[in-house]
Amino acid sequence: MSRHAPGPSKLFAVLLFALTCAVVLGLPGARSVSAQQAKSSDAAYEAQRLAADPDAPGPVQPIPFSHALHAGKYQIDCLYCHSGTDRSRMAGVPPVETCMGCHAQFGSDLEGVQKLQEYWKNQQTIDWVRIHRVPDYVKFRHNRHVAAGVACQTCHGPVQDLHKLYLVPDTKWVNGMPADKLKMGWCLSCHWQNKASVDCLTCHY
């Protein structure tokens, strides 16, 4: 609960937010991107191809983003893009700004990055297809699990090896019944194992 009062940053925030909303409402954005860089590695091209592969499991995303490339090859820390996940109930999904932080500099020869820059130019939001979700009456807390040292892969699968993301199936058995990934029994089996709270009110309220 960040009850600290709004400093200059907050004001800035409010204005920025106003701007964002205005943009969402379709007013023209004011920024542009220079794209003059060296050619990307073949690995990058390969990754992009695989990430876009319609036959691979998982939904086709607006941008062929490869976790295997970023988290795997380049070893970028999850929290670098998904910031806030260690502080908040919700996982931080990187704003376009974050992506542009790097891709303003390079990768513009990749069609995926071009798409990204397109989004940025029009100040549009990227509508990713959601893959991991729990019902709304389940109050999952990312920060708690990060604090407890649960690896992201535990729930999200080996993202560092996945070019195209999907709900990597995993089944635990509870009372002889199969509990699929992100189902209650699946969460519980881990909670029981690690002596985490299994009080109903921990997740349901």
Partner: protein, 1005 residues
Amino acid sequence: MPELDRRDFLKLVGAGAGAAAAAGCSERVTKLIPYVIQPETITPGIPVYYASTCRECPAACGVHVKTREGRPIKLEGNPAHPVNKGALCARGQASIGRTYHPDRFAGPLQRGSDGKLSPIAWDQALDVLAGKLRESAAQTWLLGADRGPTGNEVLARFVSAVGLGGRIVYEPFAPESLRAATAAVFGIDTEPLFDLSKADLVISFGGDVLETGSSPTEHARQLAEARDVATKERGGARFVYVGPRLSMTAGNADEWVVAKPGTEGILALALAKAAIAAGAGAEGGHGALASLAGGLDPATAAARTGVDAKTIERLGAALAKAKAPLALPPSTGLTSARGVATAGAVLVLNQVLGAVGNTVQIPAGSGTKTTSYKDLLALVDAMKSGKVSVLLVHDADPLYSMPASSGFAEALAKVPFVVSFASSIDETTNAAHLVLPDSTPLESWGDASPRPGVRSLLQPTLAGLFDVRSIFDVLLDAGRKLGAEVAAKLPSGDFRSILEAAWSDTAWRDALARGGVFAETAPTGAPGLAAGVAKLEVAEPRLDGDGPFTLLAHPSPMLSDGRGANLPWLQELPDPVAKITWQSWAELGQEAADKLGLVTGDVVVVETPTGRAELPAWVRGGLRDDVVAIATGQGHGVGRYASRENDGQPGEVRGVNVLSLLPTLTDEAGGRAWLCTKAKVTPAGRKERIAFSQASDNKRQRELGETVSLAALLGEGGHGEAAEGEGVGEGSAGEHEFIVPYNAVDDAAATALHRWGMSIDLDRCTGCSACVAACYVENNVPVVGEEQVIRGRLQAWLRIERYVTEGELDYRGGRPARSSHESLGNVDVRYSPMLCQQCGSAPCEPVCPVIATYHNPEGLNGMVYNRCIGTRYCANNCPYKVRRFNWYDYNLKNFPEPLPLMLNPDVTVRGQGVMEKCTFCVQRIELARQKAKNERRAIADGEVTTACAQACPTQAIHFGNLKDAASVVAKKSADAKRGYHALQELNTRPAITYLAKVTRGSVEG
């Protein structure tokens, strides 16, 4: 990710919390939409708080706006603000709904030739406005409420620069009489400040300071401080209420003096005289008094006021004896054509008692200076005679809030071009030709200064939801369109820059952070009496018409002057006294009703010289039999919630607008008079179902809303039950030898760090219902509407029960008798908040077949919505009846767009067919737990509190960890003399300890 949340809610609202499970929402393709640029302060999932100011009433309480992903979801009191010190009243709590109101205008509108309002673009709208101004600036008038120092300044500059006819600052409940009286008595045109916290004897002459006064939250807190039995000796201040009606404020008094309405001034003078006779100290007012209260010996005063001489002498003596007495002037309802004299008399009494400079301050420039009512009436005449060609209306609904007899309607019809700045539909806007929607308080910059030294800021916490613009920027732009010379006279820049400039004398960012600059000015001392005193003519007021009844048009605590009527929460919150929702009702005294052969629910015709109205009667003992009382606020014909739905479409008039009955009278100084007519009351011969939220105020001597006499508390015998400790109260005195004393701490797991508990101090609870409103907003509690309330389906998790006296074991047949146990001159009202008691051995738990409700390790009575199958056995078995069932998918039916945006994302929205109830705001506990858990410690006292406790103006509710012996709640719960548990003979082992209300008895001379 606002969009994401909205989608979530839409789905939630669509599918319902539980039903979603069946739907298997994980299969549904949903989008994950991040920001383009994420504001650095916003971390999705973590609330951010911004300090701002509530603009529901002139009191200008400071608020913290709780935002999630840049979206305000709740208003909380600003602890740093001197007015409300962290509390926030029901109206403030509900005001967040204005921003997400389904009636809001998406953008500017113009009335076309077809008579319908149709959207136009802003610049187009501005051209239209500018054009009108160019044509007839001199015949243009600006009518609206006070907008704070800077706002007023800008408006004034605009008026002069463009050369408008003038500006009317209009506030229907403005205490003009009091201002005039202060001017007359002390020669200073200001509003006196009353500090109840210092007083040891408060006598209110019809001043309903706790619900509809100038600053209810503040006064409630002060009164509670003054009467705190823990710190003040002998029960602290005594409180006497003078007036014809047992209002909420009166219900909190020790003694109720039933005076004839309008004779408060006379009584005040008589008391002053009696006080002097008993040797009141201050020389101040004696001279003036002699001239004013020449012949007012107790006997004559008694004859004129209907208060017997003995009482007058007794009270006089008491006032004389009191160290810090305080007399409060009448508030709106009792302001008569003699308003100035009455208020003046009260001020004189204060002067005589030496209260001025002590409990009464007369600081220059306090309160809001409104235009005199007579000037407004003059404008109405001008409008009638076609002298006004353009009327700009903002922050006011005069077409509703002006008495019909003033002819405002006809006058407005004569105005060729009416511009409204309202952000959502109201009566006046419905008649406007151009609508330029202003931004709501949560979206706008601004400031307010309720009294010298206290400057409070508003800052926007939401933008882009609607295409609306601040009235100031609109007017400035329109003005600038009129040419360079006008523009030159206008302040430069937009309103925000103007505001910042106006605050340049302060540390702007600091001020924003704290919510303003709060430098309380030093006491003003006691100014001497001015010559004006002699001119006061204290006498019975003029009342138009004839008829056995005096019409008392008292302000509604929830709807106020009608501005609250379109907020569903305020409609559904039961009136603190009548416990009626969504409707208008006429209060009649018991005897009067018996004479007319009326019972509660019978429709009566109330006739005055200026109008007639039909509305159901509520028969009560707490009202003089020569008075009929009707609350303001209802009677709207537009607005989704303000008006009744008529085959699916709003537009049928809801209830009665009492203003249609009032003649247009003014007080001596031209201020607005409310107590101004007699009325005839006749049965209409039909019945109407009243939307009561409470069946009966007879508690049948059961262990609810207990009291303990002061004598008993001080261990001086009297009622002995206090000594019993457990099971305080007349009803339970020594009867329950089978009650097992218990320790609520035992009902938590030994290993748990917390046992959540609550203490509720009935001696502090005023019944204001702020907690209820807070609960509604915090927990996404649905509003169900009039018809459902009548069918007994109110969804409130927390309700305030209003019991009168210990009650009797009446075995009347038929329906439970609505007619109250009140009686004239007798105050024994017990307000008792009732919410889930989180019982240690809860009757609701073992009967649930699926363990949807259970007892968690920290002592909470958990309710798992998605497990519930809706057998409703738990609710049957709950003796406190605090469980509510979703008979329909209320959240689907009653949360039209964009209301879902204000739902609390941390609380599941309950779907059709599940049980719901209070869980001590477990979502707040979970949030607080994060920090504590990271630091491997228990949640500290004060680190988490429930929405109800937080909102309470008097801090009657304390929430915390009972396992922590040092916590406030643990200490409070340990109170052996006042502590009791509701219906303890059932041995449910509640976690809530009530502290019995202290009966201090009537004031001794």
